[in-house]
């Protein structure tokens, strides 16, 4: 009998600190699988800022840099500019990437910085106990929107892929989800494409992954998958918002 599925090598053999059923774990694995498949673990530098995934440096086996909250794209830019032949990726939450780090996100995108951004959108600040994130859905109850997010006073969610797709430097902007095996397969393909883009010096690639936070959503892990499917995906439609390689093919 042959092993058809096991932990990828680029992931350390340790138990993560993530809550049971948190899909951060699935997304970690997908990134690690791509690194394994491309054989680039020795040439990869990961950048993780603050958020539930802050300790990802203990989970990925490639070299890792821990970045200040929101600044991973800047840190990645520094690393990539210093080492243009290495693969540099960031792994960021929605609070990190779309709130405090908005400027770094937009500018690394418009610069066409040749990096990969894995953007984990779980519609809340997981690490700090479930406050409103820029991506929190209208009406969603969080620690700082105890009566549900009121768009009148607390504004509207940002659809990051749609926004970044307006920028010339972006090579790939795609939104995927990890609520089911077919979607997980799609997510992995997108991540692979992003890393291939970096290999081929095509510029900035972002893969937005819709993810769960059972703990702060107040749902079981399985209920969380349902919410992801029924509430989040409709608001954040999955799909490719920009893909310059597709354009190359089409034209």
């Amino acid at each position: 009998m042959a092993v058809v599925f096991e932990k990828p090598k680029a992931l350390a053999d340790v138990s993560t600190h993530y809550c049971p059923g948190c899909t951060h774990g699935i997304i970690h694995r997908l990134v690690a699988e791509v690194i394994d498949e491309m054989g680039i673990e020795g040439d990869t530098i990961g950048v993780c800022p603050v958020g539930c995934s802050v300790m990802a440096y203990n989970y990925f086996n490639c070299d890792m840099i821990e970045a200040p909250h929101g600044r991973a794209p800047a840190v990645a830019t520094g690393a990539k500019r210093a080492m243009p032949d290495k693969y540099v990726f960031t792994y960021q939450g929605d609070g990190d990437l779309a709130a405090i780090g908005t400027a770094e996100t937009v500018h690394s995108a418009t610069r066409g910085e040749n990096i990969v951004i894995i953007f984990v959108n779980n519609t809340t600040y997981g690490m700090t106990g479930g406050q409103m994130a820029p991506t929190t859905l209208p009406g969603q109850v969080t620690q700082t929107t105890p009566y549900g997010r009121n768009t009148e006073t607390q504004g509207y969610p940002i659809r990051v892929c749609e926004m970044l797709a307006t920028l010339d430097g972006v090579a790939l902007a795609q939104r995927v989800a990890v609520d089911s095996v077919p979607h997980i397969r799609e997510a992995k393909k997108a991540i692979r494409k992003a890393f291939e883009n970096q290999k081929n010096k095509r510029g900035f690639s972002i893969v937005e992954v819709l993810s769960t936070c059972p703990t702060n959503w107040g749902l079981t892990p399985i209920e969380s998958l349902t919410r992801l499917r029924e509430d989040c995906i409709p608001y954040y439609p999955l799909g490719v918002y920009k893909d310059i390689t597709a354009e190359e093919v089409v034209k």
Partner: protein, 351 residues
């Protein structure tokens, strides 16, 4: 070697390139814009990276990323921009990364003004961000010294794995003076900790400042402070000028020290035994040199372009054993030699 006129800001840039700085990330701000402009012209040709960041915060974090990979990296700004970098600097210190940061100070607080100032002394020496940490802080007083100190800053930053700052001001950044560039032997320090791809040849490296266990965090901080003690012992610097017999010793650094030296000379001409101590490193503070230079003195006069920030360090160096007077100008006003001379007279006359 040929002497050429060069602006302080440009000299810093050229010196950095010669010291092997491979990455420069900046954001424009008066009075240090020429530094970036020079880098924009020369850095790429010299095989390095110049990138104008979208903000000071992005710039300092790009430095963090580049420094993490083991290359020499630098950024530059002026007072408000340095405040914005403070979180990042604290992270760099907490991650034990070397780098060089330039502060060409201007008047504060807030937007303040753009004229020279020394009101970021406390920030640079005690609290450039949250938490227990220090930067090496060099205080040049001439364009030539900016060049020399920049090289040293890179070397010591690498050696001790910590950020170093050149604390200049608008006067030094903007003025031209004759300079020469010494042949520089870039001090190549091994960086086995660098996150530059492990190539399957070593365990993965991690650059990090997070320690969830208080004991672990305490230990790294305490270890860092052991290194600080070593630096204090070996690397504090000061210039002592006519202090051997001086009754009144002026303590001043940077541009202010130039003015103070004129005043001291004037006082000597007037028959007053005045001297000058010029701290060249502000952290570590040259405590021993302060004691040494004031041996003969009855009074000490600290002069700063601020409301008085270094004055406490002078008092503490002397263990409050002598009267320490203060004369300050702030907001971009540069003290005049005559004003300092008058203060010296006042103190002398008060006897």
């Amino acid at each position: 070697m040929e002497r050429n006129l060069m602006k302080g800001n440009e000299a810093l840039a050229e010196a950095a390139i010669r010291a092997g700085c491979k990455c420069f990330f900046g954001y424009p701000i008066t009075p240090q814009t020429e530094l970036s402009a020079y880098m924009a012209k020369r850095m790429e040709k010299a095989g390095g990276v110049f990138l104008q960041a979208e903000s000071e915060i992005a710039a300092i974090n790009m430095v963090l990323g580049a420094a993490a990979t083991g290359v020499r990296a630098m950024t530059s700004s002026s007072s408000p921009g340095i405040s914005l970098k403070s979180e990042g600097i604290s992270y760099i210190a907490g991650s034990d990364l070397p780098c060089v940061i330039i502060n060409v100070q201007r008047g504060g607080p807030g937007l303040g003004g753009i004229q020279p100032s020394q009101a970021d002394y406390w920030q640079a020496t005690k609290a450039l961000g949250h938490g227990d940490f220090h930067l090496l802080v060099y205080a040049p007083a001439s364009v030539q010294e900016m060049i020399n100190m920049l090289t040293k800053a890179f070397d010591l930053a690498d050696e001790y794995r910590m950020p170093a700052m050149i604390l200049a001001d608008g006067l030094l950044g903007q003025m031209m003076e004759p300079v020469t560039f010494p042949e520089i032997k870039a001090n190549v320090v091994e960086k086995p900790w660098a996150t530059n791809g492990h190539q399957f040849k070593r365990k993965h490296n991690i650059v990090n400042s997070l320690y969830l266990q208080p004991d672990g965090l305490q230990k790294t901080v305490q270890d860092r402070f052991v290194r600080y003690e070593d630096i204090k012992k070996k690397h504090s610097e000061a210039e002592l000028y006519k202090t051997e017999d001086a009754d009144i010793v002026v303590v001043a650094y940077g541009a202010t020290a130039r003015v103070a030296k004129s005043a001291v000379n004037k006082a000597r001409e007037a028959g007053i035994k005045a001297g000058l101590i010029r701290p060249m490193t502000l952290w570590p503070f040259p405590e021993k040199q302060i004691v040494e230079g004031t041996k003969a003195a009855s009074d000490v006069l600290v002069v700063e372009m601020s409301m008085g920030q270094m004055v406490d360090d002078v008092k503490l160096s002397l263990e409050c054993s002598k009267p320490v007077h203060f004369f300050g100008r702030t907001g971009g006003v540069i003290p005049k030699p005559t004003e300092i001379f008058d203060e010296i007279i006042k103190i002398g006359g008060a006897k």
